[in-house]
Subunit: 234 residues, 2 copies
DNA sequence: AAACAGTTAATTACACACAATTAACTATAT
DNA sequence: ATATAGTTAATTGTGTGTAATTAACTGTTT
């Protein structure tokens, strides 16, 4: 008898050739970051297992990893639920991320090769084009590529790992702030400033540009969260 | 028939009232950080299960968390092994940690209350006394307390979580650098400088003191790793 | 009517079993 | 003698079963 896959809230990407636990891990993480699984929602093993067509074991192991990433919280003997999103926790994340982003552009100024700088320039151009499309998904993707090149340019694997994780936490809010039209033009300018700072290996300028970039993101996200709060408060 | 518990390399602390997976997680983490489990050593599920008297399930879940923490690496279809310790990876960790320690001291300057500052002063005094004992374990503990007070003073939970994790990575090297006798007097001075910087809410001075502190640690650890390399190279 | 106790349903925590894959060892052929 | 193929042992990956604990609901008593 065919399982009719009741709802495809959580789609299993079978294209990947990974252990099931990692497939589940990626699927659940994505569902949380994009908001398909909402804060406070319980993650029940049998239910998720039926939905994704796997047994409870890979589900449990995936939840262990989400637990350490801070995306779910464990209630003893009740299981996992999606961690909440508050202004405070977002500010905490951004406070750390700002510091590590500053570190990464400093290191990038010192260490990026000419070919890496060239790739960064191209990524900057692509981001400018992406902004013109007005499509939030395209913009988000181009933004990620731009920042990934910088972080990779530091040559510090641990920094890459941590910043990827922190950036992901922010993605939970990003789908929101990228719709802030008035920010689009500014975003292009900010990226330009970061690029030129690194290009000229001018740490002071590059750091300042990154600081402004993150600060603006923070303000934009806070504005949207507050607005969201008004909408959902009864 | 009684299992005679072949070797107690990994002792299960049954005092704690935690899920078995967390007991296992803590036990394995401690074993890795203190060097009882050596880099490259394989973590085999049945073997560990027999040793600790639990089934494979809690072992597996603990390994998932160690995996995300970076203490073990997964080899597909071969299982987990203890992650290596190289000068490069240690420098990567310290590069990040330096940046976050600077951040935490800056935030502490702004946010620590008078009572917290008082507790920091006491912790500083205790550290000075600990140094006089010459006992590495006592010193390490006092050092942790001192730094924990500063990090707690930032009020940033995410920062606390990350710095705890990074500090733990360094503990793998710490058992080594704390035996560096000539550093002991300097350590006291360095802590004093950090304390006074925060006490006077003087960010510039506090940050400079922390930078020096971390840089010295890094040099000390590198010296010892290089020395270790000579010893074990045949 | 409200509160408390008892019972039931649901869910995790843990253990165990089986299948699949890898690695090592042996035997045979060139 | 060496290389290759076949076989076996060992270990992970995944699925399932069982006990224990929690939460909710119902019935009874004050």
């Amino acid at each position: 008898m065919e399982e009719p896959l009741k709802d495809d809230l959580i789609r299993v990407e079978l294209s990947e050739f990974l252990p099931l636990r990692d497939v589940v891990f990626n699927a659940l993480r994505k569902a949380i970051l994009t908001g398909r699984l909402k804060p406070g929602e319980r993650l029940m093993e049998v239910h998720l297992g039926e939905q994704m067509g796997v047994s409870r074991t890979p589900i449990r192991e995936a939840i262990r990893k989400l637990e350490l990433e801070g995306l779910v919280v464990m209630v003893p003997r009740r299981g996992a639920e999606v961690a909440g999103m508050t202004v405070k926790s977002m500010q905490d994340v951004l406070e750390v991320r700002r510091s590590l982003d500053v570190l990464s552009v400093e290191l990038a100024c010192d260490r990026m090769s000419e070919t890496e700088l060239e790739r960064l320039r191209e990524a900057g151009n692509k981001f400018t084009q992406a902004i013109k499309t007005g499509n939030a998904a395209v913009m988000a993707e181009a933004d990620v590529v731009f920042h990934d090149i910088i972080v990779a340019g530091t040559g510090n694997l641990r920094l890459q790992q941590l910043l990827n994780n922190l950036a992901e936490q922010i993605y939970r809010y990003r789908f929101v702030y990228l719709q802030d039209d008035i920010r689009h033009e500014l975003l292009v300018d900010e990226h330009e400033a970061v690029y030129h700072g690194i290009r000229n290996r001018n740490k002071i300028a590059a750091v300042e540009a990154v600081r402004i970039h993150i600060d603006n993101q923070e303000q934009s996200i806070i504005r949207h969260i507050e607005a969201e709060k008004f909408r959902t408060e009864e």
